[in-house]
Each structure stands twice: as structure tokens, then as C-alpha cells.
């Protein structure tokens, strides 16, 4: 049994799985049930001046029968008074002293408002604070959430205000609705953040109803942009985590959030630099019990790899994430088709013929249809192996290059020395 405990910027948790600030962490009843189910921590539904929500609030995108490939919401922060939440945090902490409870906070960008709320939540014994600079809708129109999270100076200033009075670690939750997330991550670090978390939801409109022409979701026939999350956003979130992890100015722990649905996703985020992860959509889709498989799977993976502690995974793939200009132009892979398992659906041929490099030839052998890749024309793009429905039918295999490795940057500097 591997050691799944994490130390996230000084916040201790029995495992790396926290519920993200969202409906699953709306109340003490829910968070306590989640802890019973096995979650290591919970970031409480964002606290602030209680808001009013609309009905309906959620929509999901199905893809080819796969429900909740992406999830969209127009819900705001907590609609319950601060005192009610604080009382329930106190009770929950008392019952689960070894689990991590983080208070997510959002107030107007004023120093005294940050001071007031930080002091109040720390008084009930939270283990840390998460400043929500990410909510893309509703709160942003009031100058909070993503509206302040998109302006590096405001991120820095508000982090600083929280840090002026905070005694527990301050995590800054970043919005992905920005061109370069490292700009705001760096600002958070300049403001004194002990950690950053990402991502909050991505601006989105889930769809338009083709019968009524209403937006999905709609509120009495009107819609407003929402926030997108769930499996569809994982690659976007993973890139943002990786970009921060390899940025020397973002030298604080990262909590990875966005589309994490199983232990494999979690392990990928940790390899790319996250010290722990947060989950929302997967819990909303399948319930708290998914954490059991997430714990077992991660344990088995670490045991198989002979890794004693999950903390030893953190950041192990970061140095492999580089810039395009530093990739070897002369590295070569080609597709290889295994006709023994191929079911002759021809998807690979069509993909390569129509949209890649026209190098999968069809022929017959003893009356049997066969496929073969013309290696000299294959550019190793992976497309055929991506569209192939049969595991193992197409492998991408390395071919020794006859020329030495050279990156684009090396090539450009070499060629420029032969410029006129």
C-alpha cells in the first residue's frame, strides 16, 4: 500500500482527492458524507455575500451517446448566509479533524472586505483559504470572480490583502478565461500566494434548442454565458497546470482542477506538477463513491511502479514539457498496421487519403483485403491510429533517423549564420 497522503503548501490531507468548490461542497451534510466516502479534502462552496440563483442552472453536452462529455452552469456562489456555513464548517472539522477543509472566498475588491471574511472563516478552524478569482458569470458583472481574476494587478493586490491577515495557507484559484494563465499565476505569487489552483470554468454556451430557438439552459426564454467544465476541458486544464509548473516564477504548489474523472486523470495532473487535485463534475455525474476506485487505482498504480508515496509523482513529467522550437525535427515515427487484428473498416485509409498524406495502400492477398502503410510517405501524424476503432491494429513505431537530432531553434541559428 502506497502512502497517499499529501502535504499541499502545509495543508495535510489523507489523499490527493479534494472536492472542488461547487454544489458537492454546498453544506456540512454533503461534505461529511463525502469524507465518509473517502474524499481527502473539500473546498467549501464559495463564501461571500449570499447571492440569488436562477432556475434552471445546468446543461450538459453529450457526444455520440456519451453523457456529460462537458458540463455547463450559470450558478453563482453560495446562497446561504455566512454564519450558517461557518457553523457547518466548524461541526465538520470537529468530526473530521484530519481531513482538509478549505474555505473558498469571494468578496468585492476592497481591503477591509477581504480582511473581514478571512478572519471569520479562520476563526472556525479551516485548514486553508482559496480565493475564487475565477467564476466567469454573474459575479464577474459585479467586479468579482473572473473580472478581477483577469487583471494581474487586481489578483496581486487582493492576494496581498488576504495574506495580510491570513494565518492559514492562501490558495489563489485562477480563471482559464485569459490568454496566458502564467501572467495571473505570477501575479498571485507576487501577492504572496502559498499556492495556486486551476482551472475554474471556461466561458461557454452549451447549445441552442433547435425547436424553441432558446439557449440551453434558458431562464424564462433568456440565456447568459456560463462556465464549462467536465471531461472536455481536461486537456485545457492540464496544459495550464503544466505551463505554470514549468514557469520558474510560479514556484508554489499547484492544485489541479478540470475534467478529472478517475485516478488516471489525477496521476497525469500530478505528473505535470499538481500536488493534489480537485473534482467537481465527475462527482456530480456519478456521486461521491467514485473516490473509492480513484483511491484503489492510484494505490495499485504506485505499487506496480514501486513508488512509496504519491508525493513522489509530483512534477515528474514537467521537464518533458517543452517548447515546440526545442523538439527534434529529425525524430521519426511511422504507422504500422497489424492485418491480423484489423477488421477492414477502412477508417484509417479514408482518414489518411482524405485528410493526411495518402499513404495507406489497399490490396488483396489470397482474396483477403489488406492495408499497408507506405512508410516513405508517412509523416507519422498519428491520425490513422487515432481513428482506428481496434486496439492494437495500428501502432506508431519509431524509425531510426539517418540524420542527427536537430531542433527548429538550432536549425534557425545555424541557417542564420549563413545569411547574407
Amino acid at each position: 500500500m502506497a502512502d497517499l497522503r499529501i502535504d499541499f503548501a502545509g495543508i495535510k490531507s489523507p489523499n490527493p482527492y479534494w472536492l472542488a468548490s461547487a454544489p458537492p461542497t454546498n453544506s456540512g451534510y454533503q461534505v461529511q458524507r463525502a469524507f465518509e466516502a473517502g474524499w481527502g479534502g473539500a473546498v467549501w462552496k464559495t463564501l461571500g455575500e449570499p447571492i440569488l440563483n436562477v432556475s434552471s442552472r445546468f446543461a450538459a453536452v453529450s457526444f455520440n451517446g456519451q453523457r456529460v462529455a462537458g458540463f455547463n452552469n450559470i450558478e453563482l456562489i453560495t446562497d446561504r448566509p455566512l454564519e450558517v456555513n461557518l457553523q457547518e464548517i466548524l461541526e465538520t472539522k470537529k468530526r473530521f479533524p484530519n481531513h482538509a477543509i478549505i474555505a473558498s472566498l469571494m468578496v468585492e475588491p476592497q481591503q477591509e472586505k477581504w480582511h473581514e471574511i478571512v478572519k471569520k472563516v479562520e476563526a472556525v478552524g479551516v485548514d486553508g483559504l482559496e480565493l475564487n478569482f475565477g467564476c466567469p458569470h454573474g459575479m464577474a458583472e459585479r467586479g468579482m470572480g473572473a473580472a478581477s481574476g483577469q487583471v494581474p494587478d487586481l489578483v496581486e493586490k487582493q492576494t496581498h490583502w488576504a495574506k495580510e491577515v491570513a494565518r492559514t495557507p492562501v490558495i489563489v484559484k485562477l480563471t482559464p478565461n485569459i490568454t496566458d494563465i502564467t501572467m495571473t499565476a505570477e501575479a498571485a505569487v507576487r501577492g504572496g500566494a502559498d499556492a495556486v489552483s486551476m482551472i475554474n470554468t471556461i466561458n461557454s454556451l452549451a447549445g441552442v434548442d433547435l425547436d424553441s430557438w432558446n439557449t440551453v439552459p434558458h431562464v424564462a426564454g433568456k440565456g447568459a454565458h456560463g462556465g464549462y467544465c467536465g471531461p472536455a476541458v481536461k486537456p485545457i486544464a492540464l496544459n495550464m497546470v503544466a505551463e505554470c509548473a514549468r514557469n520558474p516564477f510560479v514556484n508554489v504548489p499547484i492544485s489541479g482542477i478540470g475534467g478529472i474523472s478517475n485516478w488516471q486523470d489525477a496521476a497525469e495532473f500530478m505528473l505535470m506538477g499538481a500536488t493534489g487535485v480537485q473534482v467537481c463534475t465527475a462527482a456530480m455525474h456519478h456521486g461521491f463513491s467514485i473516490v473509492e476506485d480513484m483511491i484503489d487505482g492510484l494505490n495499485n498504480y504506485l505499487d506496480e511502479k514501486g513508488i512509496a508515496s504519491v508525493m513522489d509523482l509530483v512534477g515528474k513529467s514537467v521537464q518533458r514539457y517543452s517548447n515546440w522550437g526545442d523538439l527534434d525535427l529529425n525524430y521519426k515515427v511511422v504507422a504500422e498496421i497489424n492485418n491480423d487484428v484489423c477488421i477492414n473498416c477502412n477508417k484509417c485509409h479514408i482518414a489518411c487519403e482524405d485528410t493526411s498524406h495518402q499513404c495507406i495502400d489497399m490490396y488483396t492477398e489470397s482474396g483477403r483485403p489488406m492495408l499497408k502503410v507506405r512508410e516513405q510517405d508517412c509523416v507519422g501524424c498519428n491520425l490513422c491510429s487515432i481513428v482506428c476503432p481496434v486496439d492494437g491494429a495500428i501502432s506508431m513505431v519509431e524509425r531510426m533517423s539517418t540524420i542527427a537530432p536537430m531542433t527548429w531553434n538550432e536549425r534557425q541559428s545555424l541557417i542564420s549564420s549563413f545569411d547574407r
Partner: protein, 68 residues
């Protein structure tokens, strides 16, 4: 001619000039590909390289020339 055959042909031409003692004097690239000016004593020739594979190959050869 297929891209592959064209690139083989271009690589052969690069090899050919180098084997005949030509040295790369200038290299420039524009919308039409790469242009390499080879020189040997008074002789100057310009080779246009179109294919991606041959442009990669040429860069490797150029690297070898600088390391000689």
C-alpha cells in the same frame, strides 16, 4: 513526382555538390522554399530545395560542414 521521390532527388543533389567539393556560402528561405548557394573556387551554383525532408537533410549536412 511523389514528394518522397522529389525529396530523394533533392537530397542526392545536396550530396552531389558536397562530394564535388562545393561549400555552402549562403542560405536563405522564402515563400518558395530554401535557396542554397554553393561555391567552389570561382564557380557558384544555387539550389532550390522544395521538400520538407530535404530541407531537414540539408540542415544536418550544413551542421556537418560547420563541424569540419
Amino acid at each position: 513526382m511523389s514528394d518522397h521521390l522529389l525529396s530523394m532527388d533533392e537530397m542526392r543533389q545536396v550530396d552531389d555538390y558536397l562530394e564535388r567539393g562545393f561549400k555552402v556560402h549562403y542560405v536563405y528561405e522564402n515563400l518558395s522554399g530554401m535557396f542554397v548557394e554553393f561555391g567552389r573556387q570561382e564557380e557558384e551554383v544555387c539550389l532550390q530545395i522544395l521538400t520538407a525532408d530535404a530541407r531537414k537533410y540539408f540542415a544536418a549536412k550544413l551542421q556537418e560542414q560547420t563541424q569540419l
